[in-house]
């Protein structure tokens, strides 16, 4: 039996579970709540971006900046909803939606060439020149039937990534 936080009631857990569409078990939610409280050091109800950056493993991740943008000012419910994409119980569609949101930097429902270039830049850093990146991206887009000026929407992403087995999971430690 772990130390369940005294501040989370059974009602709270069920509400959060509903909110994330049962992506996590109640034990996992309690465990994640402990983690949330650990990160929310000043007890303000949300985690400031600074806290995420103080986790070295997160800070050295190439996509940390894009994720921070998405994570800013999250309260516990939003934190769980964010992480629900990484639960083994979440659907492929949910995971693809998450990936789409990472790409869609201006949250307008459309992913442009520049958006994809930004993520590619984060991932490759100094290993590819800007020119090489643009070339590779343009070439790959063309082969898939798009052009440099096309905007990809969620359904495009579903089509492209839909028939692969996307492995996107993070294990929640339950004591």
């Amino acid at each position: 039996m772990g130390n369940t936080s005294s501040m989370l009631t059974q009602y709270d857990i069920e509400e959060v579970q509903q909110h994330c569409k049962h992506a996590f078990t109640q034990q996992e939610i309690a465990s994640l709540y402990q983690r949330f409280c650990q990160l929310d050091r000043n007890n303000c109800g949300f985690i400031p971006s600074d806290e995420f950056l103080s986790i070295p493993e997160f800070a050295v991740n190439p996509l940390s900046q894009s994720l921070l943008r998405m994570l800013d000012g999250f309260n516990f419910k939003e934190f769980i909803a964010f992480l629900s994409a990484f639960s083994p119980r979440s659907t492929l569609q949910h995971k693809i939606e998450f990936i789409f949101k990472v790409y869609d930097t201006d949250c307008n429902g459309k992913v442009s060439f520049d958006d994809m270039l930004t993520v590619l830049r984060d991932l490759t850093g100094q290993y590819m020149s800007e020119h090489q990146r643009k070339e590779v991206l343009a070439q790959v887009l063309e082969e898939a039937g798009y052009t440099k000026d096309s905007f990809l929407v969620l359904s495009d992403f579903m089509k492209i990534l839909g028939n692969s087995d996307l492995k996107m999971e993070a294990e929640v430690p339950v004591d």
């Binding site: 986790i55 070295p56 991740n61 996509l63 990936i99 490759t124 294990e171």
Partner: protein
């Protein structure tokens, strides 16, 4: 385009102390470029491995675990145990604690009344003065240990006073130093602290020979390295004790050892310290409590029980770099004390990983 280049050689020149983090970071090649197959849009857009790593770090990361104080399970939760616990609190705070304070006060009186005269009167007879001061420091440390009802079991051959050797140990709290000093008067290298601890450092610890460093100063490293080298060369100096982790860790893990102690060209004698948590959690969580509070917590607990192992002295093997040597010694200490090794630099507690590290992670 080969995205698997790992910058190994340049990293050890860039950061004097930073170990090669890319050796330990999980490698997530976000772009699977098959040299023979074709790169498709699907491969490019699939950032799931990198995202999984990030989510994994958010959910639980090995670095934060090193500094978590694990509170003991409450055992006073029923009607029979609660009065027993209350009696325990009464005994600890109202009987044992005052006794301990008394013991400590007596110890300090004896110490100061001997130390101050010896320090000033024997100014001319250096050797005699230093050997008396050494015994006095050992004595006051024994008083400290007694004031927490410390039960320390020492295993292994006692440290000898030889030149060209340093002692390294894992670090849980400032009391590590006191526990070890009780047996042998070491010279230490410490962070200069404010308050009454700083006063003690500058007066009494000076007599056993101490080296100060300042974490926040960048140039400090070279100055300290030089001081270390000078100290080990001197035959008369007390054996030097170094805590290569650089910060207090919670006695379940060890973080990376700084290589400073391992490139002095002398023998390294590992010392492993393990505290028994049943009696008290000796981890000094400097983010949560001041040292005074920490000491008071120790003095109102039943006992501080720990094991100290003096392990076999190690030398740099031919063809081994100081960093590899540091890791090998860390492995020896962690195995002996039953601690898990974690690939993080303890100083990340105080600062962020630099963008350089993110760049290196991309390459792996």
């Amino acid at each position: 385009m080969n995205s698997s280049g790992v910058l190994k050689s340049s990293s050890s020149e860039l950061d004097l102390d930073r170990p090669n983090i890319e050796d330990y970071l999980p490698s997530g090649a976000a772009i699977q470029q098959e040299p023979r197959g074709k790169l498709r849009l699907h491969d490019l857009l699939d950032i799931s491995p990198t995202l999984s790593e990030a989510a994994g770090a958010i959910v639980d990361d090995s670095f934060t675990r090193c500094f978590k104080s694990n509170p003991p399970e409450p055992w006073n939760w029923n009607i029979y145990l609660f009065p027993l616990w209350c009696f325990g609190v009464f005994a600890r705070y109202l009987i044992i604690f005052p006794t301990r304070v008394l013991v400590l006060t007596i110890g300090w009186i004896i110490f100061l009344s001997s130390f101050i005269p010896v320090h000033f009167l024997l100014k001319g007879h250096d050797k005699l003065r230093r050997s008396i001061e050494r015994s006095l420091v050992e004595m006051i440390c024994s008083f400290f240990v007694a004031s927490w009802t410390g039960v320390v079991r020492y295993h292994g051959p006692r440290p000898s006073r030889r030149p060209k050797q340093v002692f390294v140990a894992n670090h849980t709290s400032m009391i590590d130093f006191i526990v070890l000093e009780q047996m042998t008067a070491f010279a230490v290298i410490m962070q200069k602290h404010p308050g009454w601890v700083g006063l003690l450092q500058s007066t009494i610890l000076e007599s056993v020979g101490c080296i100060w460093f300042n974490r926040s100063e960048a140039k400090d490293r070279e100055i300290v390295a030089r001081k270390l080298r000078e100290h080990v060369q001197g035959a008369d100096n007390n054996p030097l004790l170094i805590f290569p982790e650089g910060t207090c860790v919670n006695n379940h893990y060890t973080v990376m050892f700084k290589k400073g102690a391992f490139e002095l060209g002398c023998t390294v004698c590992p010392v492993a310290i393990k505290y028994n948590k049943i009696f008290v959690d000796a981890f000094w969580n400097s983010r949560k409590q001041s040292f005074t509070k920490h000491l008071l917590q120790l003095m109102t607990s039943w006992a501080v029980v720990c094991d100290v192992w003096y392990l076999e002295p190690q030398n740099l093997k031919p063809g081994e770099t100081p960093i590899e040597f540091a890791e090998r010694v860390r492995d020896i200490i962690s195995t002996r004390a039953g601690l898990k090794m974690v690939p993080w630099d303890g100083y990340l507690k105080y600062s962020r990983p630099s963008p350089k590290h993110r760049e290196r992670n991309i390459g792996s």
